[in-house]
Symmetry: C2
Subunit: 371 residues, 2 copies
DNA sequence: TTGAAAGCGCTAACAT
DNA sequence: ATGTTAGCGCTTTCAA
């Protein structure tokens, strides 16, 4: 139970030098002393099992080597992956990551930002793509630097140090084009609350692709789930299931033959929902996800056709941007904005519709009988 | 870009009082002053937008209200859930959580422990159930308190403040008994490296259940996957798939009719592996998981029969134990050891074997033709 | 090449 | 009821 930490002074005493010399050793300024001096100090440190007190160092220097990461929901493996990506880069550069799970609550996000600041941290990676960044502005004014995710720099405050975004519009277009190419015409969109920038963009991409193909959009084919309860995004799959029930429990003639879901969790849920109704994926209904959750998307039944987000690379970039700013490497320069291009990964949850459902698609074959 | 933090002295000056008075206000010792004094101080704080510097406070008090959480792999949603459980309780009590992703590397775990200590933290929740705790002993000797997971108190050092464990032996027995009850006799076990206490216990439970039923164990039916590569536990599903290939690519007579997997990720992978071989779950092969990952286990095809771990409750308990110890509420008392009872959740990935495969099971019906 | 001294922002005896 | 003072462990001028 002993807690008597050995301090820098103890080391100094033992090595017969002054505290400042020990400090110099600690900070690698070995050129300022004779070799045998630093050796003596090093030995004293070893003998005493000395490790510097970071808190004291932080107080003195005002620098903390921890960054914050706010994610909307740790329960969604996507954000677990994000956390890992961030942590990896951070660790390489001797930073640590304080994980903040906001459950998409702006009040909590603002509070986290204050806490980070008060704990000496200077940087934050903000995983939510909440419509506005206003709730972080106060912390921003106090010096917090933030790198955003899935958000353009257009509305960025001066505190935004960078941004990483996937082209969500393109991603959705890719997905819908694929479905159109297979012959689908009644294509649904299944989502939770469309209250984030990324979701809005995916919706926009969905609409654009439809419009470009001259397909009449129908509000009945878009299902926007309700806000979250206590379980956050893990409910994605549950909402997907519920949404599928809504969208698919209609007469076959009006039923969509394909569904684009807002992410893979929803896609998995949607597949379950379709099965609940006796519909087979992809024979009776095609489902396409978004994210390409490693392993899951591949291993689920059927393996998911989905739009890949290269999470690792994205978070690598985001973290690098933040650390660069914190260490002044990019001082004064405009914030970077990295846009990555999504890629469609075709697996087995999509196929041609069993019955062409559009006047213009009469020529296509019907592989499967209508159930 | 301004960063001139207002300090306690500024507030004191503005309120026309001494720093100690401000400190007293900050720490709720309002009884030590007249009401109007505290009011003046409070107003000054508000006007200045003052927020206390936690780093300074930490240096002075030696108390940091952050705890560490070491998990083997953030990429497995199970650990995301754990993180959330811990964070929830921590937040309620004004603590924060520093997430440390060890990828099961003991060196990294030891390093994390040192870092926590050097950053003033005093407590750690240790999610790995690595065979030994030795690598944490040094940090323990320096005052770090740790609450362990899936580990009895038997080998616990004096630094262990508590422990939460699910009865893993029972969990595996429950699973195997269920399979035996359905008429299975060739029951396989599918796992990654059995190098953790929890996995060893599940293996033991599997063996016990078999032995109790008088079923001859066979080493050929236990598949222990290789160590991890870069992707950590997310590979669970991949390993599960590979393992299923190994265990099931044998003549039908020797093939297991049921598989217990070490966790749900493996189960999902095993289902995929079975399908790769043209085997249907559960008609041709029953699969049973462990964890009952919320949503996933339910939404996957087929919905997983699995052993439930009540993660939320377990982490709630673990966190409470740790905070109690850190705040001296339980000083001197023996560490608590909470053992929770697993529960079998029967869904659709298990059924009676299509062909009884044991002399003693001749009476059972064969629902399905042999493929 | 090394040391002395001041101080980061806060807290807690100990005065008054 | 309030103020004075002396640090927590470190870094950093500045001086020797």
């Amino acid at each position: 139970m002993a807690c008597a930490r050995t301090s820098l002074r103890d080391v100094a005493r033992r090595a017969g030098v002054s505290p400042s010399t020990v400090s110099n050793v600690l900070n690698g300024r070995l050129d300022r002393m004779r070799a045998d001096t630093s050796e003596r100090v090093l030995r004293a440190m070893r003998e005493l099992g000395y490790t510097p007190n970071q808190v004291a160092r932080q107080l003195r220097t005002g620098q903390v080597s921890t960054i914050g990461l706010i994610v909307p929901s740790v329960a969604n493996p996507f954000w677990g992956l994000v956390a890992r990506g961030v942590e990896q880069v951070a660790l390489e550069r001797d930073y640590h990551v304080l994980l903040c799970n906001s459950e998409r609550d702006p009040a909590r996000e603002a509070q986290f930002a204050e806490i980070l600041l008060n704990s000496g941290m200077r940087g934050l990676i903000f995983g939510s793509s909440s419509l506005s960044l206003d709730h972080l502005a106060k912390a921003g004014a106090r010096g917090l630097r933030v790198v955003t995710f899935d958000r353009s720099l257009a509305d960025a405050g001066p505190f935004v140090a960078g941004s990483v975004e996937i082209d969500n519009v393109l991603g959705a277009r890719l997905a819908v084009s694929h479905l159109l190419g297979l012959g689908h015409r009644r294509i649904g969109l299944l989502s939770g609350p469309i209250r984030t920038i990324s979701r809005r963009k995916r919706l926009a991409g969905y609409r654009q692709a439809l419009a470009d193909a001259g397909v009449q959009p129908s509000a009945d084919l878009v299902w926007e789930g309700p806000g979250l309860t206590t379980y956050g995004d893990a409910e994605g799959a549950e909402l997907g299931r519920i949404g599928a029930h809504h969208l698919l429990s209609v007469p076959a003639r009006a039923r969509p033959t394909a569904l684009l879901t807002i992410n893979d969790m929803y896609a998995i849920g949607a597949c379950a929902g379709a099965r609940d109704l006796g519909l087979r994926v992809p024979q009776d209904i095609s489902v396409i996800g978004f994210d390409d959750l490693p392993v899951f998307a591949e291993v689920v039944t059927p393996p998911l056709t989905t739009v890949r987000q290269p999470v690792r690379e994205m978070m690598r970039t985001a973290t690098a941007q933040l650390l660069a700013r914190l260490e002044g490497e990019t001082d004064g320069s405009a914030p970077e904005h990295a846009v990555v291009t999504p890629k469609l990964v075709i697996r087995s949850s999509t196929s041609r519709p069993s019955m062409p459902n559009d006047d213009r698609a009469g020529a296509r074959g019907a592989d499967q009988p209508d159930p």
